[in-house]
Symmetry: C2
Subunit: 201 residues, 2 copies
């Protein structure tokens, strides 16, 4: 970090620059209103470079989504300590990511885009299914693992909607310790308690 | 219901017709892309009649939202039987409304519009705060009543996102009895259990 190269940052710096530009465009104009050319202009690169890294608008969106939601980055350490207290650890990880303003804005942009455009919904579905529910289900090694992980996903996406998107009080204005206390037992329950579903476990 | 009048249905029929047209337009074109004139054309009425009933596009959206979410209609009977088993009753009411295809489509359209447009977000926030959280909080007469009601709201909106909007499995394809069994203890907990929040209850 201490030495800045003479040329700004070459290709890999451009990749970050393109993702930053893409997040801004998706946030401002939604999925439909964003084009590869618009992203390239915002990033001050040639459109061909966007195609080189991401192939298509869909590819840029998928990368921006992955970058915004940061699941791949946090999941291994989250799961490394086993299932005791995982509800609380998961929520603390969640808030560490999303209370930081620029990450939150990106995440809100991704979800707004994804709820208003079918192609983006499809990508968010694939991402949540594989990266969130798939990884979590694999890690917990419990009966009904996919259902458990999906229940957690449904509570987290609801928390995002209420706190960051629709911004309903008192959850929008609550401090994170209050929210960890309120949600941790439920997340823990979904992941590890007896669920007593019809058909048994 | 047995006698149909010779003239279709006059003003009050037109009101329903306008709401039906508005739901279709908001679903197809989102909040931004919908105009009073477009709604009037779809409903085959004069724009002045839309203004007469609803004053503005905002007014039509608010009425369509209320009509779609049906909270005012179901809340009194839901609360009439007290808090024992309210988690399960609330979920059964929820599924009775939203497993019916046309109500679900309207609700999805409202939430999609509301997540992608600031003015619509503001209206959804006011609606959820007053009609859902306000009414529920008033009824439960517990410490932290607003927080409890908001926690329930966050789980229900997350369930809507996962099952009906992003459509993630296994929740999207689960039968409603499985989902009632999975969610009822959590809804019940949010409404009536000791929450143990920092600062106490």
């Amino acid at each position: 970090m201490s030495r800045r190269p003479g040329r700004r940052s070459g290709f890999s710096g451009s990749r970050e620059e393109i993702l930053r530009a893409a997040r801004m465009k998706f946030a401002e104009r939604g999925y439909d209103g964003t084009t590869v050319r618009g992203i390239a202009e915002e990033a001050k690169v040639d459109s061909a470079l966007v195609h080189h890294f991401f192939k298509s608008k869909e590819g840029v969106f998928a990368a921006a989504m992955e970058d915004a939601l940061r699941i791949g980055e946090v999941m291994p350490s989250l799961l490394a300590d086993g299932l005791d207290g995982i509800g609380e650890r998961l929520l603390r990880t969640f808030f560490t990511l999303w209370e930081s303003q620029d990450k939150r804005e990106t995440m809100v942009a991704v979800i707004r885009s994804a709820t208003s455009h079918d192609e983006a919904v499809r990508m968010l579905r694939a991402f949540v299914s594989t990266e969130v529910i798939g990884r979590l289900a694999e890690a917990i090694e419990r009966p009904n693992a996919s259902m458990r992980a999906a229940l957690v996903g449904s509570q987290l996406i609801g928390l995002i909607m209420i706190r960051y998107i629709v911004r309903v009080n008192p959850i929008a204005s609550a401090d994170t310790e209050t929210l960890v206390a309120a949600y941790a037992p439920v997340i823990q329950r979904y992941l590890t308690a007896e669920l007593d579903l019809p058909g048994g476990e």
